[in-house]
């Protein structure tokens, strides 16, 4: 059984978010980590390896230093790592990213593709389903449990208020939630092996059946009009209401204004 896991290197926005003296985000100080949802997807793949002897290939699109997350994955137990990197691929939105990754995957044999549901920097949750669309295979998002039965996968698919037990024929793509499992750690021996392991590097020329017009910044249908960092919190308003009724009115007003209720 062959499993491809798509992973992304992201800044650790949920961990140590640091601010500059002027209150803006200090991106340089943020640790680069493997996206948590992707790590869960990788763990799911590694369990398929433990159980069924699946071969696990990890693939990432990014700058050359993204190879770090591939090595981390190999240190956890993945068999092969592929880095897709090329200047012309930069600045991609989800359409261009999914096009690129699908173009890379077309070179490989696979039964199952696992991606994380969303990345903690972009937070869009789009690339997974879009890759499936480009490849013409079924997609099951929000996977909470994954089991293999012959040539089918049985997935517990989470919704806001219920779950479905779905059955799909492979090849198919599954997006994983970080709640899916507790990812394993690397091992020290795995790390030493991973650092020596060979990472396959692909560029634009290696992508199959993709058009230049769909790649990179130019190939991205969505464009950024404006971006600014949220500034660190300081003191807000303070009121001394005459009565509890007035206090309640003030609070409820703010809650409604901020769409809390």
């Amino acid at each position: 059984m062959k499993v491809i896991v798509c992973i992304k290197q992201v800044p650790d926005t949920k961990g140590g978010v640091k601010f500059n003296p002027d209150g803006t985000l200090d991106r340089g100080a943020m640790l680069a980590i493997m996206n948590p949802d992707d790590k869960a997807g990788l763990e799911a793949a590694l369990r398929l390896k433990d159980q069924y002897g699946a071969e696990v290939t990890v693939l990432t699109m990014g700058l050359p230093k993204a190879a770090d997350v591939l090595r981390e994955a190999i240190a956890m137990g993945a068999d092969k790592g592929i880095l897709v990197t090329d200047r012309v691929l930069g600045g991609a939105d989800t359409w261009a990213t999914s096009t690129t990754i699908a173009g890379a995957i077309r070179n490989l044999e696979y039964d199952l593709i696992i991606t994380g549901r969303q990345a903690i920097d972009g937070d869009t949750a789009q690339v997974g389903p879009q890759i499936a669309e480009h490849l013409g295979i079924p997609v099951i998002s929000y996977a909470q449990e994954i089991k293999v039965d012959g040539d089918k996968v049985i997935v517990k698919r989470q919704y806001d208020d219920r779950y479905h037990m779905l059955e799909a024929k492979m090849p198919c793509l599954i997006t994983a939630l970080s709640e899916l499992n507790d990812p394993r750690y690397m091992t020290p021996g795995g790390i030493f092996d991973a650092v020596k392991a060979e990472i396959t590097t692909w560029g634009r020329a290696d992508l199959k059946d993709v058009d230049d017009s769909n790649l990179g910044l130019a190939g991205s249908p969505t464009k950024i009009a404006k971006a600014s960092d949220k500034v660190r919190k300081g003191a807000g308003e303070k009121v001394v209401p005459e009565s509890p009724e007035e206090a309640v009115k003030y609070i409820v007003g703010k809650l409604v204004e901020k769409h809390v209720i």
């Binding site: 240190a75 750690y185 091992t187 020290p188 021996g189 790390i191 030493f192 991973a194 650092v195």
Partner: protein
């Protein structure tokens, strides 16, 4: 001389740090207060190969180097001194001597399960009458047919009652050396559960309270002849060689304790406000932190250097690392005591409160100046090398 660490060590550090934060830190206060051995942590560490980091893969280990192992003890100790010493005593004091001096059969029988973490190791040298004066050994081993019979006791043994495999030192005779009659000391491998091998007092300690520190009692304890470790009469050399490596482990533990205390204190002084500003804004605090950080960095370089020297020894047995190990242990332990004490002071009243980790770090740090060779012993080793 390149001071940047190779990629594998940076990744390993990240692994140990993550593990320490998520798996070890949450239990640190509890196991200290309950004087409870963190068996569940040992099982997790075993799963990820932390109990055999520098052991070659063919003996069930991870095939990494001493520096990686030292970093593991360092990162664990940053959040929990107890967990750090459990790994250190197991790896340096039990796995290492069997790996270095053992027969192939002994390595297969003992190193493999130890490295995989299926069994836990310990080292029994100290006795009530034999601390710094290790030659004051009284435990005896007498060969009777196919068995050695052990009689005596060991005290202050780390991993005491929790271990499965023990490297035990005993007097096997008398030899003449330089015109004097001296004790002939040999090393043995003893398994828990061997009839005649029991446990005595559980020590109630100032620090590393989760570490199982016990008295070992041998009463006509019979072990197979094959369990002699190394050559008969070479026990003292084996002990000293082993302690050289153990010193690197303890130096790493001390380094970790100092780093953990420093980091916690830096965060604290940024947030704690008095007189309208954070106490980190006062020059007294700043200067103290500067000194603490510089000493910690110096300790780190000594520790890593000693680890690297032992790595050299693995490929070239002519290399000696006793000097570097002694310097690292001496300095790191004293820095740990100084930094953790200052850390408590900089936390003010909160530093004395158990919920803030620094008081435990200070209590944990003290033992690093004492065990596996007191600071006085380290000074003896260092000066002997300087003056030879």
């Amino acid at each position: 001389m390149d001071f940047t660490l190779p990629k594998e060590h940076e990744m390993a550090r990240q692994l140990f740090k993550d593990f320490a934060e998520k798996e070890v830190k949450p239990l640190a206060q509890e196991i200290d207060e309950e004087h409870r051995f963190p068996r569940e942590t040992v099982e997790k560490m075993a799963k990820y190969g932390f109990m055999g980091i520098p052991v070659p893969k063919e003996y069930g280990g991870q095939g990494c180097d001493i520096l990686t192992y030292a970093m593991c003890v360092e990162e664990l100790s940053k959040v929990c001194g107890t967990t750090g010493v459990i790994v250190s005593a197991h790896t340096s004091l039990c796995v290492d001597p069997i790996l270095t001096f053992g027969t192939e059969e002994q390595k297969q029988k003992y190193v493999v399960p130890l490295a995989k973490g299926e069994k836990l190791g310990a080292f029994g040298l100290t006795e009530p009458g034999a601390g710094t004066d290790a030659q004051g050994q009284q435990t005896k081993a007498v060969l009777d047919g196919d068995e050695w019979v052990l009689n005596g006791s060991k005290c202050f043994i780390t991993n005491g009652k929790e271990a499965d495999i023990y490297v035990i030192f005993a007097v096997t005779g008398k030899i003449e050396k330089r015109g004097k009659m001296m004790k002939e000391i040999s090393a043995f491998i003893v398994e828990k559960g061997t009839p005649g091998f029991t446990f005595g007092t559980k020590e109630n300690k100032m620090g590393i309270c989760g570490s199982s520190t016990y008295e070992l009692i041998f009463t006509d304890c019979r072990i197979p002849k094959e369990n002699l470790l190394g050559q008969q009469g070479k026990g003292f050399n084996i002990a000293m060689h082993t302690l050289d490596g153990g010193r690197i482990g303890i130096a790493s533990q001390a380094l970790g304790l100092a780093e953990g205390a420093l980091e916690t204190t830096i965060n604290y002084v940024k947030e704690r406000k008095q007189f309208g500003k954070s106490i980190g804004a006062f020059q007294n605090t700043q200067f103290q932190l500067a000194d603490m950080a510089t000493k910690v960095e110096a300790a780190k370089l000594l520790v890593y250097k000693a680890a690297r020297k032992k790595d050299e020894y693995k490929t070239n047995p002519k290399v000696s690392y006793s000097f570097e190990a002694a310097q690292a242990k001496l300095y790191a332990a004293e820095v740990a005591m100084e930094v953790t004490t200052k850390a408590v002071q900089l936390h003010g009243g909160y530093g004395y409160i158990k919920e803030y980790d620094v008081e435990r770090m200070m209590r944990d740090a003290k033992i690093t100046e004492i065990y596996e060779g007191t600071s006085e012993v380290q000074r003896m080793v260092i000066s002997a090398a300087l003056l030879k």
